[in-house]
């Protein structure tokens, strides 16, 4: 009984790790499309802002402000409307974890 409970916990942990990996990969995949303008991993070579290492709260707030129109933009208000608030969080997770070059 104790054994099986331990096993259950182990399986549970494995499952969570796998689910977490999928979330991370989905975030990575979402963010990959941004690199045309913002550089690989958010390390822009100039012009567009560097997103690598950007604070999560700041990232999400900026995206919400683009979406609402509170922050004016040339392009980003249009992109921001295409993503959900959950996706803002995923993108923030990904970019905040990237090393700045």
């Amino acid at each position: 009984m104790i054994m099986s409970r331990t096993l259950l916990v182990v399986f549970g942990m494995l499952f969570c790790a796998a689910a977490q990996a999928d979330v991370d990969k989905h975030a990575r995949n979402l963010a990959a499309s941004c690199s045309a303008c913002h550089g690989t991993g958010g390390n822009s070579e100039g012009g567009m802002p560097v997103l690598a290492g950007l604070d999560k709260v700041l990232f999400v707030n900026q995206m919400k402000d683009f979406k609402s129109g509170a922050r004016p933009a040339t392009v980003m208000h249009q992109h921001a409307k295409g993503y959900t608030d959950e996706e803002f969080e995923l993108l923030a997770d990904f970019f905040s974890a990237q090393k700045r070059h």
Binding site: D22, K25, H26, R28, N29, L30, A32, S33, C34, S35, A36, C37, H38, G39, T40, S44, E45, G46, G47, M48, K67, T74, V75, H77, Q78, H79, A80, K81, G82, Y83, E87
Partner: protein
């Protein structure tokens, strides 16, 4: 029941074809011996080079990648219209494949694929063959010259260019504009959609007009559009033509060019004959020839149908198609090709590791057009996978610039720098 000589020839020809094909694989040399898991990528443009790089990167170099490309250098088609305007040279748009080899360990083979055997998972080249576990085909577009009487590849290379793949024809077209007398006519013919880079022809009209305005102000730009209206960024292009190049650009809708006279530089439409000093005819397009080698172009015989979770062909398992060759409600742009390439790369790795690919691919497109020497306009959109429709659908909020600006002109330059780095460095 007589068996004619013709039937015999047909049968034996078929026999030879069936018999010789697998034989070739064994007779020719295996170019790089396949040991572990391998992906072969055919075509090193925006799509193919990105797929190759990201498979290495995201598989932690566990999957071997062989990239086959016929050109020695990468030349960016995006922003190549600025070569005509004078803002850039073709060298500014040319990059090496060396970093893909050095930094990511991609094996680069310079050559052309001559056949694909989906059953034997083998790609043939003149120099030998390669085996693969999965094949990614990123063939770009080919031109349907037969739709324009009098036009063919050699005419395009020396006289009536399309310049719709950046390179020698782009340089030739610029030279033709330079040698044209002031007061001359430049005519551009736009094919019916879908074609590569929807706003590209209208951007080109702007860039040529920009060159004329500075150098040959009495000259004209004539836009012969086979489509009933301007396909992309209409208001922005019309404003640019009217405000920046008044009385210089003339736009004619529903002007399908069906014939050209090479010697006299005349383009014939249903309605009239148009004589130009410099004639630039962009023929209708279809998926690049490599797609035909495995019968991948299953949509109208022109474009390749794919599963949008993996970009796996609807025709053959194990073969993926990305970029302009894909049949989709997505713009045929460089940014889209790289985004498709990354979805495909991620999915290919998952499939090769026996896992499920991402079920919610969501990708963005930003496409800038230079309307003068320093001002640009854009179109931007997010696209997400719709499981019910099994298609990529435009998300909320996409759109174009409020107006042309120098700020966006600067962003266009940085877009090019960042995307080229993302593809090749």
């Amino acid at each position: 029941m007589s068996f004619s000589r013709r039937d015999f020839l047909k049968a034996s020809a078929a026999g030879i074809a069936i018999g010789a094909f697998p034989g070739l694989a064994f007779a020719s040399s295996e170019l790089i011996k396949k040991k572990g898991q391998r992906v072969v990528v055919v075509g090193g443009g925006f799509g193919g080079a990105t797929a190759a790089k990201y498979i290495r990167k995201w598989s932690n170099n566990k999957i071997e990648v062989v990239l086959i490309e016929r050109n020695p250098m990468f030349i960016s088609c995006p922003m190549s219209n600025t070569v005509l305007g004078g803002g850039r040279t073709i060298d500014d748009l040319t990059m090496s494949y060396d970093e893909l080899k050095k930094k990511y360990g991609i094996k680069l083979i310079k050559g052309e694929v001559t056949a694909i055997d989906p059953e034997k998972q083998t790609v043939m080249l003149a120099s030998g063959h390669l085996k693969y576990d999965r094949l990614i085909v990123s063939p770009g577009v080919d031109f349907m010259y037969d739709k324009v009487e009098g036009l063919n590849e050699s005419v395009a290379n020396i006289s009536i260019t399309h310049a719709w793949k950046a390179g020698a024809q782009t340089v030739l077209l610029r030279k033709q504009l330079e040698s044209m007398p002031d007061g001359g006519v430049f005519a551009i013919s736009i094919p019916k959609g879908p074609y590569r880079c929807p706003p590209g022809p209208y951007e080109r009209a702007c860039q040529v007009a920009h060159y004329f305005k500075e150098n040959k102000p009495k000259s004209k730009v004539l836009v012969l559009d086979a489509n009933p209206d301007i396909v992309s960024k209409k208001g922005l292009f019309m404003a640019a033509w009217k405000e920046l190049y008044p009385d210089m650009v003339e736009y004619r809708p529903n002007a399908l060019v069906t014939k050209v006279d090479v010697a006299s530089k005349i383009a014939k439409t249903e309605f009239d004959d148009v004589k130009a000093d410099v004639l630039n005819v962009i023929p209708p397009m279809k998926a690049g020839a490599v797609a035909d080698m495995a019968g991948l172009a299953n949509v109208d015989g022109r474009w390749c149908g794919v599963d949008f979770l993996t970009y796996e062909s609807k025709v053959h398992k194990g073969i993926h198609v990305i970029g302009d060759a894909v049949s989709a409600a997505l713009p045929k742009s460089g940014h889209m090709a790289t985004s498709q390439a990354k979805v495909c790369a991620a999915a290919v790795i998952e499939l090769m590791q026996g896992k499920q690919p991402d079920q919610n691919p969501t990708i963005a497109n930003t496409c800038y057009s230079m309307v003068s020497g320093n001002e640009a306009v854009h179109v931007a959109n997010v696209y997400r996978f719709n499981a019910e429709k099994q298609a990529m659908i435009s998300a909320e909020g996409g759109g174009v610039s409020a107006k042309r600006s120098e700020l966006e002109g600067a962003f266009a330059g940085y877009w090019l720098k960042n995307i080229l780095n993302d593809v090749l460095l």
